[in-house]
């Protein structure tokens, strides 16, 4: 059964229609890679899923709960949206860690605030010990043991991005989204981040990955979406999209990518 269903998402910025009707679904525990040239709408789509952009049309459903419906204003109230966002985690291209907090605090801050709120509304919350232990486990999983007390500027880009992944995972999102997670990194640092994403895929984390790393997408994703000019041109399992693309535009795009490394 699909954990995520996206129906007919449209998004326009001024005169430019960036998304022209995007529909897809995602199975629990599977990973989806979205590929396509710059300006094809991949990032906007991801931002719509995380409620950073409001689609003009369309519907987003997670586990049969309609999170967003452009035709139903009831689904768009600000306090609700804040809660609905927690279905998704987002890892940004440029990390956006909080510079004034240690690595550990970057990971625990949002959870601490949510637990405090839960204490107030429901009278129960996870103790600080548990929050810290969970964060320590995530750091270990990211290969960042010993960096708890470091500040973001003291870390390499690859380490910062791994902290950002841990920060997103700390809220246990149902679906983890990546927006070109390695595009801001030096080539020698992309490997360590891709490794971490791969290990998440092996653990059956449900993921949506926007990426320019074709070899990685082919290797890790269960399903590929190729987008061009705001539309899904082709989708399917990686062997098919990469090995035997049906559409001319997909072939052209892949040819461009294999010729310019």
């Amino acid at each position: 059964m699909a954990i995520l269903e996206v129906n007919d998402i449209h998004k326009r910025f001024g005169a430019a229609e960036v998304l022209k009707g995007i529909s897809f679904s995602l199975e629990k525990g599977s990973s989806l890679a979205i590929i396509g040239s710059s300006g094809s709408g991949k990032t906007t789509l991801l931002r719509c899923l995380n409620f950073l952009e409001k689609p003009d049309r369309g519907r987003i459903t997670v586990q049969d709960e309609v999170l967003f419906d452009a035709g139903d204003p009831g689904t768009q109230a600000e306090p609700e949206i804040r809660k609905k966002r927690l279905n998704f985690g987002l890892v940004f291209q440029a990390f956006h860690l909080f510079p004034q907090y240690t690595v550990l605090k970057n990971i625990t801050l949002a959870r601490e605030l949510l637990e405090k709120e839960r204490q107030k509304t429901q009278g129960t919350s996870a103790p600080q010990k548990e929050i810290d232990a969970d964060a320590a486990a995530l750091l270990a999983q990211m290969g960042l043991v010993g960096k708890e007390k470091a500040y973001p500027h003291q870390l390499s880009g690859g380490q910062q991005q791994r902290v950002a992944i841990a920060r997103a995972l700390a809220l246990k999102p149902k679906i983890l989204c990546f927006d070109e997670p390695t595009s801001a990194l030096d080539p020698e640092l992309t490997g360590e981040v891709l490794q971490v994403v791969r290990s998440l895929a092996n653990k059956k984390t449900t993921m949506v990955i926007v990426t320019h790393e074709m070899a990685f997408a082919r290797d890790v994703a269960d399903h590929i979406l190729f987008m061009d000019e705001g539309l899904i041109v082709e989708e399917g399992p990686p062997e098919q999209v990469f090995g035997n693309p049906r559409e001319e535009r997909t072939r052209q795009f892949l040819a461009r990518y294999s010729s310019e490394p």
């Binding site: 995380n50 409620f51 950073l52 804040r82 809660k83 966002r85 927690l86 998704f88 985690g89 987002l90 940004f92 440029a94 956006h96 860690l97 909080f98 510079p99 004034q100 801050l109 949002a110 605030l113 949510l114 500040y151 973001p152 500027h153 920060r167 997103a168 809220l171």
Partner: protein, 220 residues
């Protein structure tokens, strides 16, 4: 000699007015400046426009004139005597003029500082389920403070020196006090007032460089 001692002690007393005006202005204009900055950035356009116009008027006219207007206008417009009477009324009026004036300057510094924080910081907070208030106080604010400290230090240093403008409505601050002696043919008291400001600004400079060091542990 005892005459010189008297003069110095009277200068010290009068400088207390400058210092009082300084601290009262800071105490109220900092929060008010933040409110003005938030209004100027409001997505509700009329509020932003009204606020920006107000800031333009305050920054566009001399503080000395504003002190005069705040002090005299209520009486001239038949609003009675909202500031009370006597020396305390003059001090109240000057304080209010200073608070409004400095709040407007601070608001522009705050606005620049807030808008200088990358939007990615806010978005990172949003996708982590934080409220707008949580994002502002837990994520943005300290980064804003770090960014604006140098500009704030400039403005605060200007403030202590501006306090002597209060003499325009006969508040006997240090320069006005010293000028009484100039009228009697004694010039050194007036010259010596510079030392009071120098020492005070020296202390402010040390304070600000300490604050900047305190925030040195992270980069924005």
């Amino acid at each position: 000699m005892s005459n010189a001692q008297t003069i110095v002690s009277r200068l010290v007393d009068s400088f207390q007015l400058n210092v009082q005006l300084f601290f009262l202005t800071l105490l109220f204009s900092l929060p008010l400046g933040l409110v003005i900055a938030l209004c100027a950035m409001s997505r509700f356009k009329p509020l932003a426009i009204v606020t920006k116009t107000f800031v333009w008027m305050i920054r566009g006219t001399p503080l000395m004139l504003q002190v005069i207007i705040i002090f005299f206008a209520p009486g001239l417009l038949n609003f009675g005597a909202p500031w009370g009477s006597g020396a305390s009324a003059r001090f109240t009026a000057a304080t209010i003029a200073f608070i409004i004036n400095y709040a407007c300057y601070f608001s522009e510094i705050f606005r620049g500082g807030i808008q200088g924080v990358p939007i990615g910081q806010t978005e990172a907070g949003q996708v982590l389920g934080m409220t707008r208030a949580q994002i502002f106080f837990k994520v943005t604010l300290l980064q804003v403070i770090k960014r604006i400290l140098p500009a704030m230090s400039n403005e605060v240093i200007t403030l202590i020196k501006d306090t002597s403008l209060a003499r325009i409505i006969s508040i006997k601050e240090i320069i006005m006090m010293a000028q009484e002696y100039t009228a009697q043919g004694l010039i050194w008291p007036l010259f010596s007032t510079g030392l009071f400001f120098l020492v005070f600004v020296g202390l402010l400079t040390i304070l600000f460089s300490r604050l900047e060091k305190r925030l040195d542990y992270f980069r924005v």
